[in-house]
């Protein structure tokens, strides 16, 4: 199987057999998809690592009792902007590279905006809601923004997975809804542990599944 179709010359009007034409179409289509498509393996992997590190370190710092941190509190504060910032950087650079020169579609712009608005709104809701209670519970206030943001991200995954017919993305959305709810049910002490293992680990499993899916899709066609 030739991976990259050959470069051609100007007076290239030589007749192609139907087999050659179909092979050329297949090879060029695969080459184009590889060059333009967003690599799910990379993005799921980047976000998986970010969540495992950020939630994991937060859990290790605060331990089982959030009112009595067993590690340096500053570390839990620093790890979030660093881990999420790194994953965002990977995402933006990758999307920018793959989509370079491709005309921006209104749907793409609105999709990006949907993420930003939903995450900002969820963070705000989770930040404000604990303050409306008669007494502010610090443990509850610390996990509420995350609980809302994860639910917002999961909902976007569900909807975009459904719209694009991407079962893996839909599955990640459904999994995040479940893990978020189960981690909350486990209590404020173990919420971050649940999100590190189930959420971050879920993304890493998704990266593995995307790798397996792409490997199957790239297998030589029957003809």
């Amino acid at each position: 199987m030739t991976d990259r179709p050959r470069s051609t010359t100007d007076d290239d009007t030589t007749g192609l057999s139907p087999e050659e034409s179909l092979a050329l179409i297949g090879a060029q289509r695969r080459a184009t998809q590889r060059a333009l498509e967003i690599d799910d393996r990379l993005l799921y992997g980047a976000w998986g690592i970010a969540w495992v590190v950020a939630y994991g370190i937060t859990y290790l710092v605060y331990g089982a009792d959030p009112s009595d941190p067993s590690g340096p509190v500053w570390l839990a504060g620093v790890v979030w902007p660093v881990a999420i910032g790194a994953a965002l950087l990977v995402t933006f650079l990758h999307v920018h590279r793959r989509r370079a020169g491709v005309a921006e579609q209104v749907s793409g712009t609105l999709y990006g905006l949907a993420y930003m608005i939903a995450i900002a709104g969820a963070g705000l809701t989770g930040g404000v809601l604990p303050r409306l209670l008669p007494t502010v519970d610090p443990a509850f206030a610390s996990i509420a923004p995350s609980a809302f943001i994860v639910l917002a991200i999961a909902t976007i995954y569900l909807v975009s997975g459904a719209v694009w017919g991407d079962r893996l993305q839909f599955g990640v959305g459904a999994w995040l809804v479940l893990v978020n709810a189960l981690s909350l049910m486990s209590g404020t002490d173990t919420y971050t542990l649940g999100m590190a293992v189930g959420g971050g680990g879920g993304f890493l499993v998704a990266a593995l599944l995307a790798w397996l899916r792409d490997r199957t899709a790239e297998a030589p066609p029957a003809r």
């Binding site: 010359t9 007749g15 179909l22 050329l24 579609q105």
Partner: protein
Amino acid sequence: MTVDPAGLDPVIHAQARLRVVVTLAALPPDGAITFPRLQQLLDLTAGNLATHLRKLEDARYVGITKTHEGRLPVTFIGLTSRGRVAFEDYTATLRALLDGGRTGDAPPTQTPTSREKS
């Protein structure tokens, strides 16, 4: 040397133009791509690509839009709905030709005809 089977659109049925059309068909229906990126995806020279694009534009298979991003002029190239239909017809004809050839014994394995070096 192989002969063009009858019924295949001559505008598409040439290696370089077929590759251009396949690449543009991979974009969303109203999608477009800049000339340099298309050139990079196809690994063609600018002059070569421009020649093939002109032929595709003459057939109204390809739409070329000149616009500006900031102060820089940008040329976007996209498949027209007419071009998309022509490509679908082309692949349907190819499959029909192959299926017709398959009723007897299997067609001989084609070794790619040697072409002039690019």
